[in-house]
């Protein structure tokens, strides 16, 4: 599903953000990318949705390889991904419903299918009753739910979430986490970058820990750890 093979990413100004990183996230998995800020979590996610390409090594996502992919193919890959950010990235002047519909409209979905699909995901994230509200009228947790609904509306294979709970209080965090678990249970893989160890410890999941751009721990490689960690 997502495969990093000896991936190094150098940024001209700040230096290496990832060094020789190798890990694999399987189909339908729930995976955490964890580590301190600056450890390379966001870089790893950016490589997954092709906002950047690796300096050396290869990233494969759902059959697409960073080494053989043209710029024109990127939109095709992104339509199979759902992407969620810490700061929600909603359009302020559009309602929740319009924000979600936007993702379908700009990818050329048929008009008649948009309404029902939008309502389905808004119901899934528990916001059907607030479809006509604007982001500023919603709480942080609700805004993140709208962002998740937008990420889900194209039926992605993977949901990529970069610190999705970073701006939320504890209660909202638990809610979002539960939502992500439910999404994962219905078959969508989830890759969540977070520095919050409480979240990581709160559930069983594939765990990849980064430090200074290097993979220092991968629970998939560590059979004993996975067994002892399992309650």
């Amino acid at each position: 599903m997502i495969k990093f093979t000896s991936v190094t990413k150098d940024y001209p100004k700040t230096g290496a953000a990832l060094k020789d990183a190798t890990f694999h996230i399987g189909k339908g998995e729930f995976a955490f990318l964890t580590g301190h800020s600056g450890a390379g979590k966001s870089t790893a996610l950016r490589l997954m949705y092709l906002a950047d390409r690796p300096t050396t090594g290869e990233v494969r996502v759902s059959g697409f390889s960073t080494n053989r992919m043209s710029q024109r193919e990127i939109p095709r890959l992104r339509r199979r991904l759902g992407i969620v950010f810490q700061d929600f990235q909603l359009l302020e002047e559009r309602t929740a419903e319009e924000n979600v519909a936007f993702a379908l409209e700009v990818t050329g979905a048929r008009r008649s299918t948009i309404g029902p699909r939008v309502m389905r995901v808004l119901t899934q994230v528990g916001l059907a009753s607030k479809a006509n509200q604007y982001p500023r009228e919603l709480s942080g947790g609700e805004q993140q739910r709208v962002a998740i609904a937008r990420a889900l509306v194209n039926d992605p294979l993977v949901l990529l979430a970069d610190e999705p709970t970073g701006n939320l209080d504890e209660r909202a965090t638990r809610g979002i986490l539960q939502l992500l678990k439910d999404i994962n249970a219905s078959g969508t893989a989830v890759v969540m970058a977070t520095h919050d160890l409480d979240i990581v410890r709160s559930m069983r999941a594939h765990l990849v820990e980064l430090q200074h751009g290097m993979v220092v721990y991968d629970s998939a490689e560590d059979v004993t750890e996975r067994e002892t960690a399992s309650p």
Partner: protein, 285 residues
Amino acid sequence: MSLVLRETALAFKRAPLLSALSVTTIAFSLFVFGLFGLVAVNIRRTIGDVAERVEVVAYLKRGTPIETVTMASADVEAFPEVQRVAHVTEEDALARARQDLTEFRDIFQDLETNPLPASLDVRLKPQFRDARHAAAVADRLRSYPFVDDVRYGQEWVENLDRLRNIAGAVAAVVGSAFALVAIIIIGTTIRMAVLQRSREIEIMRLVGATDGFIRRPFLLEGLLKGLIGGLGAFALCYGAYALIDTYLLRASFFTSAQALIGIGAGGLIGLVGSTVSVGRHLRNV
């Protein structure tokens, strides 16, 4: 396509102030250019009016048979520079002199013999009304044996040439400076509109919209703003022209082709400005 139209309409609706501002900016920068254009058009017309009077006159020797003159006249009319040739007989010349030179009427009345020579008045085609071509035609006329003398007001035709060259050079330099300023201002305005929606562009890219799809509403928006700005500039120019024509001096306005080109240029600048700004932006996100 309907989505592109809808998104474009939304862009105007959501940011009415910025849209109005950019349309106004475009209108005024094109207006300045248009004013300059008006000045250029009028100077050109005035020079054209003066050039109307460029005429090569070949005075004929007394007693030249009329058949010879008629044949020569047809011959001269076939010169590539020549628009038309008028044969002025001695009597015509006298009648014209009596009419034009009223202060000497008495002298002309009392004449016993007509002192004025017959002539061929040669009018040149508009594009040949300059010193070089007038001189060339004059030289050829001189070669006819029955031609006594040829005049074409050499000195003032040369002055006219000089004036024309200066006006052309000034128009080219000042005109391109104004056009450049207009393009820069319009480009900046459109870049602001694109920047204002950078978040939208970013989200479109993240959800997998193609670059072409993202570009289209911006291009349409740029084109519309340019066209509306162009229309505004046209209206302003017309207003300025009407004021000048009524209160200051008789002036002429753009031909409809010129006006259409001006408005079209507004649209084109808007389109190109958006293409450049969005392209630059798409590379960054």
